[in-house]
């Protein structure tokens, strides 16, 4: 919850009506409230999203880790599982945020016409965008938190910076919630969701979740390092190792900027679609 109010507070209109159009008029929480009520009847759907990264941790982190052995991370030797875990935390945050900001937003926008009714009330398109992004972020936060607990229980949290890792995971969720929603508002049909998988699966496999960036040739390193998931993986891994470097701020700023960009795009597009 605190993440939500912190986020909402961060977007208090600094520029009057422009920002109100893009980020709502403080009624975003009504959308969150709606989603909470809607999920009360199907909370088990929420539970399913947790298992995927957990199973990866077991099969790749522990299973494959047997073959890999220990490796060096910032000058000390760690188990492979401990190396992979921060990366899986980041991808947990990504996937959690994408569930609702893509499929479910599309359903509500184009199929169920949920927002048509919402917009007949004082709630505006900016509220809808911010509310849905906040909810997606919250879902990402739930998975991140659960995964972090598993990491802790398995002894994979390397330093005492778990709280900072969680904050970083929130940023990853925010970036993907914004981007997911922004992209979804431009989708014409379900087939367009193939693009989401086409983007998120390679990102998951190649964004240095399972091995360091240094295995790539130089140009590929640049390409990969632009991906938001890599930004998140690297940030969480450094934090987990207890490294506080200025690069963290760059990662954080980049992710926050992507989230805000997605949010702004979504709000604009929703206005075009829903207020013809």
């Amino acid at each position: 919850m605190s993440s939500r109010s912190a986020l909402a507070a961060g977007f208090r209109p600094p520029l009057g009506s422009l920002s109100a159009a893009l980020f709502g008029r403080g009624r975003a929480r009504r959308l969150v409230e709606r989603n909470v009520v809607a999920y009360k009847r199907r909370w088990w759907i929420l539970a399913t999203g947790f298992f995927e990264p957990f199973f990866y941790l077991l099969s790749i982190g522990l299973g494959l880790g047997h073959l890999v052995g220990r490796l060096e991370l910032d000058g000390r030797l760690v188990d492979y599982a401990a190396y992979v875990a921060p990366g899986l935390l980041a991808s947990s945050a990504m996937n959690g945020a994408l569930f609702d900001s893509t499929f479910n937003v599309f359903f509500k926008l184009k199929i169920a016409k949920t927002y048509d009714a919402v917009l007949a009330t004082p709630v505006g398109v900016g509220d809808v965008a911010l509310g849905e992004v906040t909810w997606s972020l919250m879902r990402g936060a739930i998975y991140s938190f659960a995964f972090l607990c598993v990491m802790g229980a398995m002894g994979l949290v390397l330093t005492g910076f778990a709280v900072l890792c969680f904050v970083a995971a929130l940023l990853v969720s925010f970036a993907f919630a914004g981007l997911g929603m922004g992209a979804t508002c431009y989708m014409r049909g379900w087939q367009d969701f193939d693009y989401v998988s086409m983007a998120s699966i390679p990102m998951f496999l190649f964004s240095a979740v399972f091995y360091p960036l240094s295995v790539y040739p130089g140009w590929l390193q640049v390409v990969v390092s632009i991906t938001p998931l890599y930004q998140g993986v690297d940030m969480i891994r450094e934090l987990d190792a207890g490294l506080l470097t200025p690069a963290l701020l760059v990662h954080a700023g980049y992710l926050a900027a992507l989230g805000i960009l997605g949010l702004a795009v979504a709000a604009r597009r929703l206005g075009k679609l829903l207020r013809p």
Binding site: E33, V37, A38, K113, D116, A117, A120, T121, P122, G124
Partner: protein, 330 residues
């Protein structure tokens, strides 16, 4: 004859306060209001005023621009031209503030498919920032009003069409709006539900709520509306109280004569003298006249023997068909 009689009775039970002085000014003022979609002009420079506390109707054939107008008035779609003030505020600048005081029944139900019937009402109330406890009270009252208490926990998908309509109407009232906009509210309702809604709308009106309604049921418009406009192809082609419209665009009575399918047209030429206006339909001939019985008598004197005849008061339907034509023009 019977149907017309029943209508007359209804009318006298709820005397229409046509021409009643306005209380407290106008709730909607539209001047040169225009809506275009690309090159297509859906609403073309219309002017109208809705006074506080009245029931104001929009009639018009499919595609006339009624829904487009309703959507502008409810600040759901921006105006393309002209001025529009709602509840004393400019519709462009104060959309959220206007919507906060307005209830909308859209033409198509936009219920939340992922919520139960009760939660549909509850969350809609929350969108208006109504405190939880207060919304809960209102939800129970509206469930009763909509006769949906038994269905309260059901998913919306399992409701019948008419039940969904009732839920949509109840939902529009959760914020206790000052102005309620109803776009074809009774389409799909059974007669019981229709009468129930009419009663409810009268009560709202008595409480001082202003109502704007579109409908394709002329009897509904005649009963409910203090004043109305007829739209056609994006323009307002007539306006006034139902009675004024009938006086202006039709005669007091209509005699309907049936001569058999093949003869109607042949006979019609002989009838032109008997009425102000004669209209030939495939199955009957209509004589528009001040005194229908007299016209029927006169027809008999001419030696004409209709298979059946019926005299009725002119209705809004006659006005409507006169103004917008009988054939479907798309």
């Amino acid at each position: 004859m019977q149907r017309a009689g029943a209508r007359q009775e209804e009318l006298s039970r709820h005397p229409g306060p046509a021409g009643e002085p306005a209380r407290g000014g106008e709730v909607v003022v539209a001047r040169g209001l225009t809506k275009s979609f690309g090159d297509f002009v859906a609403v073309d420079h219309v002017d109208f005023l809705v006074r506080r506390g009245e029931v104001f109707g929009f009639l018009g054939p499919n595609g006339a621009g009624k829904t487009s107008t309703m959507r502008m008035v409810s600040c759901l779609s921006p105006v393309s031209g002209g001025e529009l003030s709602v509840l004393g505020m400019d519709s462009g600048a104060s959309g959220p503030a206007i919507r906060a005081r307005l209830g909308l029944v859209p033409q198509e139900d936009t219920l939340d498919l992922e919520l139960s019937v009760r939660d549909n009402l509850y969350l809609y109330g929350r969108y208006f920032d109504i405190p939880r406890r207060e919304v809960r009270d209102r939800v129970e009252r509206l469930l009763e009003f909509a006769h949906l208490v038994e269905k309260a926990e059901e998913e919306v998908d399992t409701l019948s069409g008419g039940m969904k309509r009732r839920l949509t109407i109840a939902r529009a009232l959760i914020s206790e709006p000052e102005l309620v906009i109803l776009d074809e509210p009774t389409t799909g309702l059974d007669p019981q539900a229709r009468h129930l809604l009419w009663d409810r709308l009268y009560r709202l009106k008595q409480e001082g709520v202003s109502l704007i309604i579109t409908t394709h049921y002329m009897d509904e418009a005649e009963q409910l509306c203090d004043r109305l406009v007829v739209m056609d192809k994006g323009k307002i082609v007539a306006s006034g109280s139902p009675r004024q419209l009938i006086e202006a665009h039709s005669t007091r009575e209509v005699a309907e004569l049936r001569f058999g399918v093949d003869e109607n047209a042949a006979v019609a030429s002989k009838l032109t003298e008997l009425a102000e206006r004669v209209e030939v339909l495939p199955d009957r001939v209509l004589l528009y006249t001040e005194d229908g019985d007299e016209a029927v008598q006169a027809a008999h004197c001419l030696g004409l023997r209709p298979e059946a005849s019926l005299v009725r008061r002119s209705s809004l339907e006659d006005v409507f068909l006169r103004l917008t034509g009988r054939s479907l023009v798309e």
